[in-house]
Every structure is written in C-alpha cells, then in structure tokens.
C-alpha cells in the first residue's frame, strides 16, 4: 500500500551508489525483503519501472530475496518458523515470542557496468 515512497527510496539510493561508482548503467538491484515487512515485490517493480525511466537504472532487474519469518521464544530461546498465525514455541509451547527475522527491507547490493 505504501510501495511508491519505498520505491522512490530504492531508486534514490541506487542512483547515488551508481553515481559514486561512476557507472553507466544499473543492471540489477538486489533487495532483501522480510516476509513480515508487508511490501509487495510486484508493486515495487511496477513503480520502479516508472520511476527509473530516463535514468541509468531504467530496465534494471529487481532481484528480491525473501527472508522467512523467524521467531525466538522468550522462555527457551528456540528459534522457529511459525507454521501458522498462532505463534507458539514448538519446543516448550511458550507464547511469548519476539521476531528474530522477517521485518527487513534493504538494498543488499547494486550491480552496475
């Protein structure tokens, strides 16, 4: 729902980094998106195509690496992937958990030439 602003940031960061490297063209942008982050890759791609027009990032491939949700049990420290929306620890049954992975949204690297 708020991918436009996020994609603007992706384009800005990419162009800044490519500029620093004196690149002529951005070939690929490698993004890491947590399963819980609520960002839709297709939507980011859609905005990207329009926002990158007439820049050196036009036509670049967006590569999304999805990070599955991982939770950590606050009682026994077990790290697990929740099979459903009920977040109970598979080891001790504890329901007090924290998110260990799955909220990230960052640019890992940019491939240029």
């Amino acid at each position: 729902m708020h991918e436009l602003g996020v994609t603007e940031n992706i384009v800005n960061i990419t162009l800044a980094k490519a500029g620093e490297a004196q690149a002529n063209k951005v070939i690929q942008i490698n993004l890491v998106v947590g399963e819980m982050s609520g960002f839709v890759p297709d939507c980011i791609q859609f905005y990207f195509d329009s926002l990158s027009k007439d820049t050196i990032a036009q036509g670049a491939v967006l590569q999304f690496e999805s990070v599955p949700t991982q939770l950590r049990c606050r009682s026994c420290s077990t790290i697990f992937h929740p099979p459903d929306t009920l977040w109970a620890c598979p080891e001790c049954g504890g329901q007090s958990v924290e998110i260990f992975k799955g909220r990230e949204l960052y640019i890992e690297s940019v491939e240029v030439e």
């Binding site: 729902m1 708020h2 436009l4 602003g5 996020v6 603007e8 940031n9 992706i10 800005n12 960061i13 980094k17 490519a18 620093e20 490297a21 690149a23 070939i27 993004l31 819980m36 982050s37 609520g38 606050r74 929306t85 009920l86 977040w87 329901q95 007090s96 958990v97 924290e98 998110i99 909220r103 990230e104 949204l105 960052y106 640019i107 890992e108 690297s109 940019v110 491939e111 240029v112 030439e113």
Partner: protein
C-alpha cells in the same frame, strides 16, 4: 559488471526525518503520542476525551491524519491549543502518516506553548507500523466489535506499541470478545506493553489512561 555492496535500509529516509522531528520536539519540551488503530476504533473519541480531561493540566495540540476531510480536526478544534489536519489523499502515499508529513505539521505549531501533541494516524493496522514519526510513545486502540484476534492478524503494530487500549468496553455484554485471550496475545508479542480497558462513551477507565499520559509527559520532561 561490478557489484557494489550497499546494505542500506530502504526506510532509512523516513527514520532520519523521524529522529529529526524528535530532536525538535525535545528541544521545545514537547511530548508526542502516535495513536493508531483500524478505522472506527475510537481514535478521535479518545483524543476528545483526553483533551477534555487533561485541559488545564497540559497544553495539548493535535495532528489529524486522514485520507480526506477535516471532520476530525473540526471536532477537536475547540479543545486543543492547535490543530493541524493532514490529508494523505493528496500525498503520494495515503495509507499512513509519515515522518515528513509531521515535519511540515510541526512548522505550523506554537511548540513553546505545547506540552503534548496527540497524533491521530490514518485508520489502518498495517502501514503505520512501518513508519515512525518522531513520537515518544506509540499507542494502539482495539475496540471490542473488531474481535479479539487482531494481535494475531496484525502482529507488527502490537509488537511496537507502548500501550494498547481496549475501547468500547461498554459493549462487552453484547459481543464475543475474550479479554483474557486478547491480553495473552498482546503480552506474548510485547511483554512490556501497558493495557488499558476503557470506554470513551461512558468514560469508564479514562482516569487510568489519563494518568499514564500525564506520567509519560512528566517522565519525558525529566529525561531532557
């Protein structure tokens, strides 16, 4: 071809502005509370009640975030020191307030005459959880008709909350809402969260909430 390592958070731009907002607020000794909920859970009612009850004890301002209309701003106008309405329908993103919108709203506020800003976010349980605004406390309202499963369906917003309000407690006899189960889900996600049961309609529970608000403003003032 060359690979440039970046490792940069895409939301950093928002977070940078948010921390600038907080510095500005701190400089003027203003506390800010970001109030989030689904549409209709009672954000405006809670703000109205809080303004009424703490009038004379705190100088309060309100930032209203809505996709469209000034309905809410008009409602709180007479009770607040200053009101700024943000209509996100005119912005590139309409689903949540963002730090840059608060930055511009703060320019229109007499910050030296304000102790507390109540920020009413856009009614939405998803998007506001991704954007910090520079607030000192994050509050989520869940109302009884919404059902007790919201923390399970929308965990992120509850994980980052400092306080959760269960509103419309006067409807308890008429709805199937398991208060104990709801509390268990929230404290499982967020053990430090404060939970308030109240009704903006009957005022039940408002006193406890208002004491918490006063306490936050006081603690915040001491920290600076």
């Amino acid at each position: 071809m060359k690979k440039i390592e970046v490792i940069q958070n895409v939301l950093e731009a928002n977070e940078t502005i948010a921390s600038r907002n907080q510095q500005l607020l701190d400089k003027h000794k203003v506390s800010a509370i970001n109030i989030m909920s689904a549409p209709g859970a009672g954000k405006t009612s809670l703000i109205l009640q809080t303004l009424t009850r703490l009038k004379g004890r705190l100088n309060m301002a309100v930032i209203e975030g809505d996709v469209a209309s000034t309905v809410d701003a008009e409602k709180v106008q007479s009770k607040a020191k200053a009101v700024v309405q943000i209509n996100t329908g005119n912005m590139p993103e309409s689903c949540s307030l963002m730090a840059v919108m608060i930055e511009s709203a703060l320019r229109d506020m007499p910050l030296d005459n304000i102790d507390l800003i109540l920020i009413e976010n856009v009614g939405n349980l998803i998007c506001p959880s991704e954007f910090t605004l520079g607030e000192h406390k994050r509050v989520v309202i869940s109302s009884l008709p919404e059902g007790d499963d919201k923390p399970i369906k929308y965990p992120l917003i509850f994980i980052d909350a400092d306080a959760v309000i269960i509103n419309k407690m006067d409807l308890l006899p008429h709805v199937d809402f398991d208060i104990a189960a709801f509390r268990r889900s929230i404290t499982g996600l967020n053990p430090k969260v404060e939970v308030f049961e109240l009704s903006c309609k009957t005022s039940e529970g408002m006193e406890k909430w208002c004491s918490w608000v006063l306490e936050q403003v006081k603690t915040n003032a001491v920290k600076r």
